[in-house]
Amino acid sequence: MNGSAIAASGLRKAYKDKVVLDGVDLDVRTGTIFALLGPNGAGKTTTVNVLTTLLTPDAGKAVVAGHDVATETRAVRAAIGVTGQFASVDDLLTGEENLLMMADLLHLPKAEGRRVAARLLDRFDLVEAAREPAASYSGGMRRKLDLAMTLAGEPQIIFLDEPTTGLDPRSRRTMWEIIRELVADGRTIFLTTQYLEEADQLADRVAVLDQGRLVAEGTPAELKRRVPGSHIRLRFADRYELDVAGRILPEATRDDDNLTLRVPGDGGVRSLRALLARLDEHSVDVEELSVHTPDLDDVFLALTGHGNKEIDAR
């Protein structure tokens, strides 16, 4: 159960003189969610393409579901499902026809194919739209249909390349729920994302990819501890309140001009409540409070010494 679902070492890929993957090592345990976090152009999709047999690396070795990606392509393909960055559903077919097409391509018997399609439509809440052409679906529904098509083959390892990019917040949460359920069924999920929050919400382990190299790997909590950006900002009505609060919270940094205190913390509800309780005890009035959690920019700045946007600009 706790074997390696995906193990890669020294993956390299270059297009002409542009290095896309520069020695990537990965180890994903069976039954866990692994997130590969990075900005556009970091090499996330290339990594997925290599692990899913679509692309041959220049160097390195990858073993997926116990099979070598380069030499046992067929066995790897039988064990995996891939949902690409753009929902690759057939717009002119209905949701149901899309799923039946997958069943046919998997060479399931007709009756079995219809059962699988009906079950997936039900599971992804697409029964009402089943007879509508996929072109009429919302972004969230398309992603769900796309994932349902991937699941028709009962894959044990599922690759999701930026599964929520471009989705509205509500659809994103639905997608997260679905991903959690998939892994609860014992599957392994390998997902790529640009959002630290997504990795934080879903992943057991996160690896940060930057210009083809892994710059950090660990649990979401471990990663965030390496990022100094998380803090609570308190603003006070006058200098007196600021002085009192400053004495109560010696760990805070003060900014006299703006009458603010910057208190380091993880931004969690518990630490926030504790902080407010301390201020209450001393009857300090806080004019304004805001919580700052690190985003991908902060993570990148902390881990690589350059910001996310710099990479985009290149």
Binding site: R77, S88, L93
Partner: protein
């Protein structure tokens, strides 16, 4: 065996596409019919080609019909590539020929339907072929070979193009080539340069073969040239398409 089952699955998909997006078929018929009116009723009177102009122009219009129809194929193939549909199939280990075979077969069926309609209109406009049953079979054979050649080339264009728009553009030269062939006027009447081009380009030999068969006077020479062109172009298109399919991820 999976190749056949998978090709059939993909062909069902393409068939549904055609039925649900009849504009593609409509475009493939309406333009050649419009061209036929233009050529036979408007310009044809001024052309002296030695025979009734409807009889002269119909073989060329059959070829033109094929060329107008394949724009849709290039766009469909390209959008399968760019939307990740083909990658989905590759990861599923679907036989790699299936999706391309289906596009070519669908192109074939659409072209045959369109040519049948265009030929029907030609009859209404005074087309009176003198072909025997065997010669008609020959016509169908040449048409099928031509669609195979143009179809595979178009599939290769579609796979190689970066966007559906540029894939659609790739079909434009095909639409212009008939004008630089013996489709509407004999090559011998053209200016220097154009004449040599028209005489040696593949469409002229195909059109001359069709014309010979339809007038009941088939010419073995142009038939051999036409068949050689078709087989050669099919091979080039097929190999090019296969290479692009394997390479692009």
């Amino acid at each position: 065996m999976n190749v056949i089952a998978d090709s059939a699955t993909m062909l069902r998909r393409n068939f549904r596409h055609t039925m649900r997006n009849p504009v593609a078929l409509f475009n493939g018929v309406i333009m050649p019919v419009f061209l036929m009116f233009l050529m036979v009723y408007v310009f044809g009177g001024a052309f002296s080609v030695g025979v009734d102009y409807a009889d002269y122009a119909t073989p060329g219009l059959m070829l033109t019909t094929i060329c107008y129809g394949v724009g849709a194929t290039a766009i469909a193939v390209n959008s399968d590539m760019t939307t990740g549909f083909i990658n989905r199939l590759r990861v599923m280990d679907v036989s790699r020929a299936a999706v391309l075979n289906a596009h070519v077969i669908a192109t074939m069926l659409r072209s045959l339907v369109a040519i049948a309609i265009v030929t029907g209109v030609a009859f209404l406009m005074g087309f009176r072929p003198a072909a025997s049953f065997l010669e008609w079979l020959g016509v169908i054979g040449i048409v099928v070979l031509t669609v195979l050649a143009i179809g595979w080339l178009t599939v290769a264009f579609g796979l190689a193009a970066k966007t559906p728009e540029s894939a659609g553009l790739a079909a434009v030269p095909l639409m212009l080539l008939p004008f630089l062939s013996s489709a509407f006027v004999p090559a011998g009447t053209m200016g220097p340069g154009a004449r040599q081009f028209a005489e040696y380009q593949p469409f002229t030999s195909i059109i001359e073969t069709l014309r010979g068969l339809l007038t009941g006077a088939p010419s073995a020479g142009s038939a051999i040239t036409a068949i050689a062109w078709c087989v050669g172009l099919t091979l080039v298109g097929y190999l090019w398409a296969r290479a692009s399919f394997t390479k692009r991820a």
